[in-house]
Each structure stands twice: as C-alpha cells, then as structure tokens.
Symmetry: C2
Subunit: 125 residues, 2 copies
C-alpha cells in the first residue's frame, strides 16, 4: 500500500481532487475570482455559457472543498458574494498556468489537428 | 469581437482545449510519459483504473492535438509506443503543478469538506 497521496492509484482521493481542480469550470471560476470577490450573477457573466445549474453545483463544491467562501448579506434583494480563500488563491496560480498554456498554444494545437486530419483522410481515401 | 484567445468566451476554441488539457486522464497520461516513451499496455498499467476505451480515445486525441507521437513498430507481436512531442513536454510542466497541488493539499481539502458537512448537518438537524 502506498502511504503517500498518488492520483495514479484509482482509489486515492487525489484522483477525484485532480478531476475537480482541472475541470474547465473550476479553472474559469477560480480565474474570475482571482481578481476579487463576485456576486453569483457576476460569476455567471464572466464564465460565458455556463448553465445556472452547473454554476450552482460548481460553486457549492468549491465552497465545500475550502477553495471559496460564500457570504450572504442580509439585504433586500439578497446579495451573495463568492471569494477565494487562501487555499483557493494558492490553487489560482497553477490554474492560471493552464489557462495561459491553452491561450498560448492554441494555434500550434490547431495546426497539429489539421495535419492529423489531412493525413487520416488521405490514408482512408 | 475579442481578437485574442480567451477561454472565458464560450465560442473560443481555447475553452475546449482547456477542458482537454485539464482532464484527469490527460494529466495522468502526460505525467506517465514525462518519464519516457511507453507502450499502450504500459500506459494503462501506470494510469490505474482507466478503461481500454477511454485510454484509446484519450491517446488518439492527444496524438491529434500534437501532444504525443504514436509509433508502430513492424514486429510480431505488433508494438506501438507513445511519447511526448516537444509541445507535450511543454504541457507536462503545468500539469505536473496540478498533480503536485492535488497531492500537497488533499489533507486541507478533506478537513474543509468535513467542516462543511458537519455544519450542514447541524443546520438541517
């Protein structure tokens, strides 16, 4: 039995944590909150195209994981704000690297896909 | 229209790329290959619990994206080896940070979950 956390083992809880933190919605929500606290609707606007349901579920999971705080202000209309915890701010750094990698290498990936698709078409033709 | 790649926009191709590179299987497969080329069955052994189907699909996607090479050796029995391309090696670094983050903060996340679950139980009790 491996005593240290290792996501290569299917039963290690780090496997599921890796799945959570690498999730596109996590990357985008944590990225949006890295600039400061946001209200529920503001997060939804920043993360274009996320459904209300997925936004609600992802925010709840991130609060439960200790990455975000959820603060409800007793005002009318109700105001709920989300903010990164220190643990969430710590995660923001590797996630930002992932975001920047995707932005910085999109053109290379698209060229690779075009080459692959051309080759596979010519083989089957 | 935003001229620069931005995964916060739902129609930007970086959104889908972010989803691909943050995927747990991508993180683990690229991590396994960071140590050197591996045969199909060896990758499957390193990434404990991955199904044959998901392994096949993920490897094919990573080859198409230009992150891996697939080399078939004309021997009997057939031998197929996967290796990181320079682009894949470049991605290995941020993915390794994600892996290490999950290993290094699992205990904190578990404490946060326990606290959240206790609080939610006491509220509904």
């Amino acid at each position: 039995m491996d005593p240290s956390p290792n996501p290569f083992n299917r039963d290690c809880p780090t496997r599921q944590l890796l799945d959570r933190i690498g999730d596109q919605w996590t990357v985008l929500i944590v990225g949006a909150l890295a600039e400061g606290p946001l209200r529920f609707t503001e997060v939804g606007k920043r993360v274009d195209g996320i459904s209300q349901k997925v936004l609600t579920q992802t925010l709840r999971s991130l609060v439960r994981d200790g990455l975000l705080t959820r603060t409800a202000y007793p005002v009318i209309p109700p105001r709920v704000e989300y903010a990164l915890t220190p643990l969430g701010r710590d995660l923001a750094e590797p996630l930002d690297m992932l975001d920047r990698w995707a932005r910085g290498h999109m053109a290379e990936v698209e060229r690779a896909r075009d080459a692959y698709d051309r080759e596979n078409t010519s083989v089957s033709a």
